[in-house]
Amino acid sequence: MFKFTGFLLLALLSGAALADTYQLTWGWTDPTTYLPSDAPTYEARYRVSAGAIVPLPATATPAGTASVTAAPGAPIEVSVRNVNGALASAWSGWVTATAPYPATQPGEPTGLTITVTRSGL
C-alpha cells in the first residue's frame, strides 16, 4: 500500500514536471452533398486530459494538423464539425488521438520448460 501510494505520488509529480510536444493529425469524412453555391469549411478543436477546449483554425478540407503540448500519456482528444456558412453540423464526439503506428507486440515465449524440485519429504 505504501509502495503504491509512493508510486502514485511520484507519478503525479512527474506528470506535473514533464510536457512533450506532439504533432496532432486528424481527418474525417464529410458525407454531405453540397450545392455548387455552398462553401463548406471544417472546424476542429482539441482538449488534453478532458481539460480546456482549444479551438483550431478552420480548414478547407476535413483534415488538419496542430502542435499540442501535453504530459506524456495524457490523452489528447479531437472533436470536429462541418460548417457551411452559418450552418454547421453538430460537433462530433471526442475521439482520442492514437499513436500513428501500433506498439510492437512481443511474440510468445519459446522453449518453455518446467523443472520440478522436491521441497519436502
Binding site: 486528424w26 458525407p31 482528444e77 464539425r81 462530433s92 499513436a99 507486440q105
Partner: protein, 351 residues
C-alpha cells in the same frame, strides 16, 4: 411599388441539434419601402406572412445533410415584390473521424550556466549559484592544476555536489604533464534531474589544487532516459596537446548513433606562466563559455549536429579537449498502448 432589389435574403443561422430545424433568416429593407410594408418568408415551403422586422425564425423541416430552400418577398397594399430565393446545405455530421499523435523530436539546445576559476590554492571550490532546468543534461567541466602527482600516476580525486543531483564522471584527460612537475587534469561530469534545486556547485579535490576552473553546460531536448543523464551521453573521446603557443587539440569521436545527436566539447588550457588565455572553437562549433584563472581556463563549445572532430585552439601552451556525443530526445510514438490478445502467458508479461 416594392422594388425587387430592396429585398435581399440571407440565411443566417441554424440552431443547435435537437431543435435543429429552427432556422433564422434575415434580409435588408430598402429605404424606399412604403410604410406598412411586410415580408412573406418561406423555408422549405413553411411560410409566414406579415413580418415587419428584418429577420425571422422558422421551424424548417430539414435533416442534417439536407438543403434549406428559403424565399421571401415584400408586400405593400396590393403590390408585391418578386420572390428572392436562396438555397444552402445544412452539413451532415462528420463520419470516419481519425486522429493520431506523434511526439515531435525536439532539437537540442545548449547554453552555459556558469564558468569560472580560482587561482587560490585549495581543495574546495564553489561555482556561482545556478538554476538548472528540469530534465536537462548538465555537463560540468572541471580543471585541476597541480604538481607532482603525475609522476606517481596517481591523481587526486574529485567529487561534485550541488543542485540535489548526482554527478557522475564522463571522461578525464591529463595535459601539460611534465613528469614530477606541473600537470593539469580535466574532467567532465554529467547530471540530470526532474527537479534540480538552485544553488552553487561544490568541487572538492583530494589534493590541493594550484588553480581550478569550471564550466557548466546545460542541454535541452536530450534523451532523458537512464540515470543522471546516462542515456543522453552516447560516447566521449579526449585529446591533449602542448605547444609553444596557440596550441590545438582534436578529440575524435566514433560514428554517431543518430543524425539528430549533438556534439559538445569541453576544453581546458593554460599558459605555463599562468597568464590568461582564450579559446577558439573548431569550425562549425559555437563557443558557449570561456573563462577561468591562472593555470586553468575552461571553455565549452557545441554544435547541434554530428561532428566526430572536436577541436579547439587555445592562445595558451597546453590544452585538453573532451568531445561528447549527446543523444536527442528522439521522436516516435508516445502513449501507444500494447494490444494484447488473450493468451496464456499474459501473467508473464505483467509481472
Amino acid at each position: 411599388m416594392v422594388r425587387r432589389a430592396a429585398l435581399v435574403a440571407l440565411l443566417a443561422l441554424a440552431t443547435a441539434a435537437g431543435a435543429s430545424r429552427l432556422t433564422t433568416f434575415e434580409w435588408g429593407a430598402a429605404p424606399g419601402w412604403p410604410a406598412g410594408t411586410t415580408v412573406e418568408l418561406c423555408g422549405n415551403d413553411v411560410c409566414e406572412t406579415g413580418i415587419t422586422t428584418t429577420q425571422h425564425t422558422l421551424d424548417v423541416p430539414v435533416e442534417p445533410g439536407g438543403v434549406i430552400q428559403g424565399r421571401a418577398r415584400a408586400h405593400s397594399g396590393e403590390q408585391s415584390s418578386s420572390w428572392v430565393e436562396l438555397a444552402q446545405t445544412w452539413p451532415a455530421s462528420p463520419i470516419g473521424i481519425r486522429a493520431t499523435q506523434e511526439r515531435i523530436a525536439m532539437a537540442i539546445s545548449a547554453s552555459a550556466l556558469t564558468t569560472g576559476g580560482s587561482g587560490t590554492n585549495g581543495t574546495g571550490f564553489t561555482t556561482a549559484s545556478v538554476s538548472p532546468g528540469s530534465n536537462r543534461l548538465l555537463l560540468l567541466g572541471v580543471g585541476f592544476s597541480g604538481v607532482g602527482a603525475y609522476a606517481s600516476g596517481s591523481f587526486p580525486s574529485c567529487t561534485i555536489s550541488g543542485n540535489g543531483l548526482t554527478w557522475e564522471l564522463v571522461a578525464s584527460q591529463v595535459s601539460w604533464a611534465e613528469g614530477a612537475n606541473w600537470y593539469n587534469i580535466t574532467r567532465v561530469y554529467r547530471a540530470m534531474g526532474a527537479s534540480p534545486s538552485s544553488g552553487a556547485i561544490t568541487i572538492t579535490f583530494g589534493a590541493t589544487a594550484d588553480s581550478a576552473g569550471w564550466t557548466l553546460l546545460e542541454l535541452d531536448g536530450v534523451n532523458t532516459g537512464g540515470t543522471n543523464g546516462s542515456a543522453a551521453v552516447v560516447q566521449s573521446a579526449s585529446a591533449e596537446a602542448t605547444s609553444g603557443s596557440n596550441v590545438t587539440a582534436t578529440a575524435t569521436l566514433g560514428a554517431f548513433a543518430s543524425a539528430a545527436n549533438a556534439t559538445v566539447g569541453i576544453v581546458s588550457s593554460a599558459n605555463g606562466g599562468g597568464t590568461a588565455v582564450s579559446h577558439t572553437p573548431g569550425t562549425g562549433f559555437t563557443e558557449l563559455s570561456d573563462g577561468g584563472a591562472e593555470f586553468t581556463y575552461m571553455s565549452g563549445q557545441w554544435r547541434s549536429d554530428n561532428d566526430t572532430t572536436v577541436n579547439n585552439t587555445s592562445t595558451g601552451q597546453f590544452i585538453a579537449v573532451i568531445g561528447i556525443e549527446v543523444a536527442d530526445a528522439g521522436g516516435g510514438p508516445a502513449g501507444a498502448s500494447l494490444v494484447t490478445p488473450a493468451n496464456r502467458f499474459a501473467h508473464m508479461l505483467v509481472r
